[in-house]
């Protein structure tokens, strides 16, 4: 097929349009375009101050909280290998917020319409944003862990038992990565950044803790952030011996949290296709 083409408009005399049928796109070309969409999304992520603020908050908060806990908690011996993970729960929320803003700000500022016009195969945009949200969660998770360990080191704590450190770091990064993607999925469903972020904070910090008071422990362990936080596997003084005894393994917790993420993403993608790109 012929391609309708125009030469550079800096050379007006040479510009022309043919009436020939423009070239059509194949599924393979859509698949190859994911890379271009990824590049575009990464430019978007790195060129707004909100995301730089998230990174700064992650690092500053991690250092401060770890240092403060190390200094102020004196009734038990603490180690870097434990304290370093305390901030990860908050980092996961920040990663979720980043995921929300990745899509929510596009809807809010109308740039989603431009993106859909440029890439009519909406699954390309959904996949690109999923990978970007995952990368954002990974970067924030790594920064948060580094800050957490750094704060504990600055406070002068001993390293502690590091035999499971690498594994726990891996699970923590999986938690923040999935949190970023969960934020994206929720934003794709709700389409309102404020509502999505508010919902996350209220659910994660308030509602789940309330539900845990009323629900049987066999059920409560399947709540999303209960499962997610158990990926960090440090002992939680608030949990009963029974809850600790029936706690899911880390792979099981990852499956539960990942399941919520997958459902949110799937519903969000379906809605991305079904709704008009306003």
């Amino acid at each position: 097929m012929n391609t309708a083409h125009a030469t550079s408009s800096t050379d007006p005399a040479a510009m022309h349009l043919t009436e020939h049928r423009p070239a059509t796109r194949s599924n393979g070309e859509d698949a190859r375009s994911v890379l271009a969409a990824l590049k575009s999304d990464w430019i978007k992520v790195t060129t707004v101050r909100a995301n730089r603020a998230l990174l700064l908050l992650t690092v500053a908060g991690g250092v401060l909280v770890s240092w403060a806990v190390s200094i102020l908690v004196t009734d038990q011996v603490q180690y870097v290998a434990e304290v370093g993970f305390f901030w990860t729960s908050v980092t996961s929320m920040l990663a979720a917020i980043g995921g929300v803003l990745l899509f929510g700000s596009e809807v809010q500022h109308g740039t989603l319409a431009s993106a859909v016009a440029a890439r009519p195969a909406r699954w390309v945009l959904a996949l690109s944003k999923t990978l970007t949200a995952a990368l954002l969660g990974l970067v924030l998770g790594a920064a948060g862990l580094a800050a957490g360990f750094g704060g504990a080191v600055i406070a002068g704590l001993a390293a502690g038992d590091t035999s499971a450190l690498v594994g726990t770091i891996g699970w923590a990064l999986l938690f923040t990565t999935l949190s970023g993607v969960l934020g994206l999925g929720i934003a794709m469903v709700v389409r309102n950044s404020t509502a999505a972020i508010g919902g996350f904070l209220v659910w994660g910090f308030v509602l789940e803790n309330l539900f845990r008071l009323f629900l049987a422990e066999e059920i409560a362990r399947f709540l999303p952030f209960v499962a997610g936080n158990h990926l960090l596997a440090y002992a939680n003084d608030l949990e009963s011996p029974h809850a600790l005894a029936i706690a899911l393994t880390r792979p099981e917790n990852a499956f539960v949290f990942g399941g919520y993420t997958a459902v949110a993403l799937l519903v969000g993608t379906v809605l991305l296709y079904r709704r008009d790109a306003d």
Binding site: A23, K44, S105, G110, T111, A118, D276, D278
Partner: protein, 298 residues
């Protein structure tokens, strides 16, 4: 060429676009006019796949928009100049758009220069005036060097210099073979450079022809003052003339004083005043769309 066939969109019980069919020729500027709520923006959104029509289709030289290999390099569109992140600079906004469509990064500087925004390239879009946002939106549409431009109210917020620049740019774009489809409320401005007009009202097509044809059909009208307006209106209608009754006179379009005078004389109707006037394109279009205007002032 753009071919729109039977485009229809319904929101609940409201039919926003009703079986719209028209063609937009290459090498021409085609204006898209109609009152507020006529369905212009909805139509343009359907033309670039943002809104799904209930029925109908849009093809670009025979290819559906969703099947185009390089949509941004075939159709450049500006549907809302506010569609940009206020915290992102103009340059980064265009970099992201270029990356998404696989367009080389050097085009960013080129289009910024084309629209006169080089000096504001590193300024955040949130600090831009409406006119600057319009220019940035147009720069985004030009990134892919497309042969087709779809613009919804592109002159909103532009100063007279900017409107002239836009008019000249679109005229030369069409003269070089490009296809331009532009909606505007500034009918008088549009009439200075549009070749064809698509007129919609209440979601329906009212006219799709050249500016000259619309002007010629509605050019002349006769104003009649008579103590027997009802009788004269009936007599003129019986002779096949279009008559509109205003507060104090009748307006008969597409005819001459001589014809109206003869009909009145033959009917024994006294005429106090008979004036022949020519109408501007704006008047013609306003008359065409008056009955379908969603919001109209008294």
């Amino acid at each position: 060429m753009i071919t729109v066939t039977g485009l229809t969109k319904q929101y609940g019980k409201r039919l926003a676009v009703d079986d719209l069919s028209f063609e937009v020729a290459a090498g021409r500027v085609t204006g898209f006019v109609g009152p507020n709520g006529a369905g212009k923006s909805t139509t343009m959104r359907m033309m670039v796949g943002l809104t799904r029509p209930a029925r109908g289709d849009v093809h670009y030289a025979g290819v559906h928009y969703r099947d185009l290999r390089h949509p941004a390099r075939t159709v450049g569109s500006v549907l809302d100049a506010r569609c940009m992140h206020p915290g992102r600079t103009a340059r980064d906004h265009l970099r992201a758009a270029a990356a998404l469509s696989g367009i080389p990064g050097r085009r960013v500087s080129e289009v910024l220069a084309e629209v006169g925004l080089e000096s504001a390239a590193d300024k955040r879009a949130g600090k831009f005036s409406l006119g600057m946002r319009q220019r940035l939106a147009l720069a985004g549409a030009l990134l892919g060097n497309p042969p087709v431009l779809l613009l919804d109210e592109p002159s909103n917020g532009l100063d007279p210099d900017g409107i002239r620049w836009l008019r000249d740019y679109l005229s030369s774009f069409a003269a070089r073979g490009g296809t331009v489809f532009v909606s505007s409320h500034l009918i008088s401005e549009l009439s200075m450079f549009a070749h064809n007009l698509v007129v919609v009202g209440g979601g329906r097509l009212l006219a799709a022809e050249s500016v000259g044809a619309i002007t010629a059909r509605n050019d002349v009208c006769v104003l009649v003052e008579t103590p027997q307006p009802v009788e004269l209106a009936a007599l003129l209608a019986a002779h096949g003339h279009t008559v509109e009754e205003t507060a104090d006179r009748l307006v008969v379009t597409g005819t001459t004083r001589a014809v109206v005078s003869q009909i009145a004389f033959d009917g024994g109707i006294r005429v106090l005043e008979l004036t022949e006037t020519s109408r501007s394109l704006e008047d013609s279009l306003l008359d065409m769309t008056r009955s379908s205007a969603e919001f109209a002032s008294n």
